[in-house]
Amino acid sequence: MANNNKLRKVDIIFSAYPGNPYDILKNAIQRGKNEIIDDLIESGLRGRGGAGFLTGYKWRFMAQQKETEKYVICNADEGEPGTFKDRKLLVEVPRRVITGMAIAAYVTDSKYGVIYLRAEYAYLIADLQKEIDIFQEAAKKIGLDFTIEIFRGAGAYVCGEETALIESMEGKRGEPRNKPPYPIQSGYLGKPTLVNNVETFASAAMVCRFGAETYKSYGTDDQHGSKLFSISGDSPKEGVHELELGMKISDFVQEFGDGDTKAVQVGGVAGFCIPRKNFETSIIGEGNTTGGATMIFNSTRSMYNVLHNYLEFFAEESCGQCTPCRIGTQQLLKGIEAVKSGEKPESYLQDLIKLSRTMKVTSKCGLGQSVTNSFVSIVENFKEEMIY
């Protein structure tokens, strides 16, 4: 089943569906709730937002919560630079996303659904609402008590973090909460809350449509299924591409690069930057899944500028509450500027790498914890560009 890490395009999530609207949902709710969860676990589907938790386990945990008021939230706050797959899903196959949410609601006995849509995607609301209206009609017909509302974000990257997203829905600053408790135990308004990414819901719907066995046959032993990749940068094929998980970067670059690729940023700005010398040995989709944001840089690009741009982003989009993230991001930014200008010696880069590692282990949420990934991979692999 392992695909030998060859690049394989697939067409699942956007593939034409011959049935009637919400047939997938209708079929799903004929089945037992546990059966669906078992299927999801069997399929190996992991969260597609970046953290990569097994979706089936998350849903099972949610199903076990005894409260009557439960929320299913679709996290459409994709704000990571280089990520735009959720936009495409919401534009082209919103029905699949909603189907996934509705199946989740069915198996977890949740009545309330929310699509948390980032502020920048406000222009999607009208069409999305039309689809929600169609869904509500369908739900009524099949006897599913589940209402979906759109909640608009207001412009804060950190709200993609699920507890920050919940704070934001509660009318507060989007500052991530301390965990535990996790949202499934105590989320929106203190109620059990299941937060999944747009693609995760759509993929869950696909597992229901094609069955766990089929879904599982895609990908690698470790990472099953297909994944949407947002590809941008120096590529003649920018856009969203569905690929099986597990492929060598060299194959990826072969397919999507412009012939002059010097580095590939895998997993968005919170992910890793892979230099040309490692293209043969690096695999996309191994270990943790990625959010699928892949940015390609050719040899005309200054990696110092790239890193500088990332760090400006982090220093602004940190929620600011915890020390390592708020100040650490500023220090990394100022630090590379100081090395570049000669104010600080080359060796200062090592201090900054060490600092970024402290940020990784001490920051409160994934934002501060992940800055080190791109920082270290760019500074170590493109050291000359940082200095000269």
């Binding site: 600053r173 602004e316 600011g320 650490g328 100022k334 201090d351 990784k360 001490t362």
Partner: protein, 594 residues
């Protein structure tokens, strides 16, 4: 609650499930440094100084916000932990205005302590301190210096959780995140009660009281001025903390000597004015009761609420401007004292009131604002010229080079230096109520309150809201309208609880006749001008000291204070009389709630 066990630094510890790692460590005397954590406040988990290693986890966990994990091994002192903490403190220092030598909180700063403990190199990271930060000195009470702020949000949590005022908020995000008032307006323009509880909990010098002690030194040094100092009840039970004594040690006598040695021309006691407040306020209560119960006067408001806490007064002016009629019209003891210092005292001593400088030493930040209220000039002058905190006072004693511990005990001067145990207990929550009941009951029935040793224990304690009911029986003839009345009294401390009491009044469901409200948790002993730090244990010790002082007083009811008897005979003539009304009572100003 089920118990769990875990190992901290190799030592087995059993705790209730849900206990944080920090609490579990404390149980076995393992010290973990903290900054954003404060035991009076909810957990924030944002400074990350308290990180520890949980065996098997790559991430370090913030011990203040992480529940102790069953069966796990915690290490609080590994190289990883130390390095991370040093990095974090270094980062905070890089964002900080490190002019420690000129900082008011120098030597009493939690960031400074940690920087020293971890031997932080100030040049390790570049400074990310924003240039051009101005100190907000707009308020009479509180100064805010963002250049010293570490964004721990203790002040925000204090203002929200303890005081329900929410004058402070975190604003913006990322590198621009800071602590703000509404639109960063100056402190004197926003809904701030000046209670100073944020100051008490600020780990650094970002929030401090506005200082006036230099003006006091100047007055002391001016031979044409007659400097009158008076000290509030709770100062004497907390001042010692700044001068080498254990918490809860009373230093009344040494404090008096210190003031004299510093050069005060007269060393008097706010407690005298507290006794006076009881007479005026007690009579006001009885009058209100009569008007409501007998005259059925709809314009008179019950419950009547005490007005001696200026933080509380400003709170009700902002939050319940339509209910100011419930406030007693009595000035606070500080302001009664101030007015009398420039009228009665001046007359008796034959001093021109324009030469008198009246200095109040208070446990309070809001008293500074109160002293500067425009209406507080009934003596024809500023009734109080300077309001100092216990902290400023402690500093002045140090500046004066006094060997405080070896000072002989002194006694307050007269007049306006005599006080009773009832005046003393004003310093603790419930004290004004107890003092008022001692006197009012005696006035109405001719007997002492039916409690052992006059200790009305029902109104003492630390619960946010306490209440008691006293049945009035066998009244003296002139008070017969109170015969059989069950007097319901309530006590609230901390503005969070004051709001609960006021919401009841606003809803018309309040069952009380008389309520004491203190803005600060614990009352004045926990005031915003008291020595830092504060916590429940410290407040309890100061409170115990207050009640010791009360028990040690020969007279424990305000109306028996001979100087009080004398001032009514010679000067005021009668409670609520013409002169009292002019000098000792005030009015209030409705303000904006939002």
């Amino acid at each position: 609650m089920s118990m769990i066990s875990l190992k901290i630094d190799g030592q087995l510890v059993e705790v209730e499930s849900g206990t944080t790692i920090l609490e579990a460590a404390k149980k076995i005397n393992v010290n973990i440094p903290t900054l954003c954590h404060h035991e009076d406040l909810c957990v924030a988990g944002n400074c990350r100084v308290c990180v520890v290693e949980v065996k098997g986890r790559e991430r370090l966990e913030a011990s203040c916000s992480t529940p102790a994990p069953e069966g796990m091994e915690i290490w609080t002192n590994t190289a990883r932990v130390r390095n991370a903490r040093q990095d974090i403190v270094s980062l905070l220092v890089s964002e900080h205005n490190t002019q420690c030598t000129t900082c008011y909180r120098n030597t009493n700063c939690e960031l400074q302590n940690l920087a020293a403990e971890y031997n932080v190199d100030g040049n390790r990271y570049l400074s990310v301190l924003k240039p051009g930060i101005k100190v907000d000195t707009s308020s009479w009470s509180i100064e805010k210096d963002d250049s010293k702020c570490i964004r721990c949000q203790r002040c925000v949590r204090t203002c929200a959780e303890l005081q329900h005022v929410n004058a402070l908020t975190a604003s913006h995000k990322g590198k621009d995140m800071k602590i703000s008032t509404f639109l960063d307006l100056p402190f004197n323009e926003v809904v701030c009660t000046n209670c100073g509880q944020c100051v008490n909990r600020c780990p650094t010098g970002a929030l401090t009281e506005r200082r006036y002690f230099n003006q006091v030194w100047e007055a002391i040094g001016d031979p044409t001025k007659h400097v009158v100092m008076n000290t509030a009840p709770s100062v004497r039970v907390a001042l010692g903390e700044m001068l080498g004594y254990e918490v809860g040690h009373r230093v009344t006598g040494k404090m008096v000597t210190a003031m004299r040695k510093m050069g005060a021309d007269s060393v008097l006691d706010t407690d005298f004015a507290a006794d006076l407040t009881i007479i005026e306020e007690g009579n006001e209560l009885l009058t209100r009761l009569k008007k409501v119960l007998v005259d059925k006067d709809q314009s008179v408001k019950l419950p009547m609420i005490t007005s001696c806490s200026p933080g509380w007064v400003k709170f009700i002016e902002h939050m319940f401007p339509n209910h100011l009629g419930h406030l007693s019209t009595c000035k606070s003891p500080q302001q009664m004292f101030g007015t009398l210092s420039k009228t009665y005292y001046a007359e008796q001593k034959g001093i021109d009131p324009k030469d008198i400088v009246s200095v109040a030493i208070m446990p309070c930040a809001a008293k500074k604002y109160e002293a500067n209220r425009p209406e507080m000039n009934d003596s024809g002058y500023r009734d109080i010229d300077a309001g100092l905190t216990t902290r400023e006072f402690g500093l002045m004693i140090k500046q004066a080079g006094l060997d405080f511990k070896n000072l002989p005990d002194g006694a307050f001067d007269s007049i306006m230096g005599e006080s009773t145990g009832a005046g003393v207990i004003f310093g603790a929550t419930g004290g004004v109520m107890e003092a008022a009941l001692r006197t009012a009951y005696a006035v109405v029935t001719g007997r002492s309150v039916p409690f052992e040793n006059l200790n009305i224990t029902a109104v003492r304690g630390t619960d946010g809201i306490r209440e008691a009911s006293i049945k009035v029986e066998n009244c003296l003839p002139e008070w017969s309208f109170l015969e059989g009345v069950v007097l319901n009294v309530g006590v609230a401390h901390g503005l969070k609880n004051a709001r609960i009491i006021m919401d009841q009044i606003a809803a018309g469901t309040s069952k009380y006749h008389f309520i004491e409200v203190m803005a600060c948790p614990g009352g004045c002993i926990g005031g915003g001008g008291q020595p830092i730090p504060t916590n429940a244990e410290i407040r309890a010790k100061r409170t115990a000291a207050i009640y010791e002082e009360d028990m040690g007083k020969p007279i424990r009811m305000s109306h028996e204070n001979p100087e009080i008897v004398k001032i009514y005979e010679e000067y005021l003539h009668e409670p609520l009389g013409h002169k009292s009304h002019k000098l000792l009572h005030t009015h209030y100003t409705p303000r904006n709630r939002y």
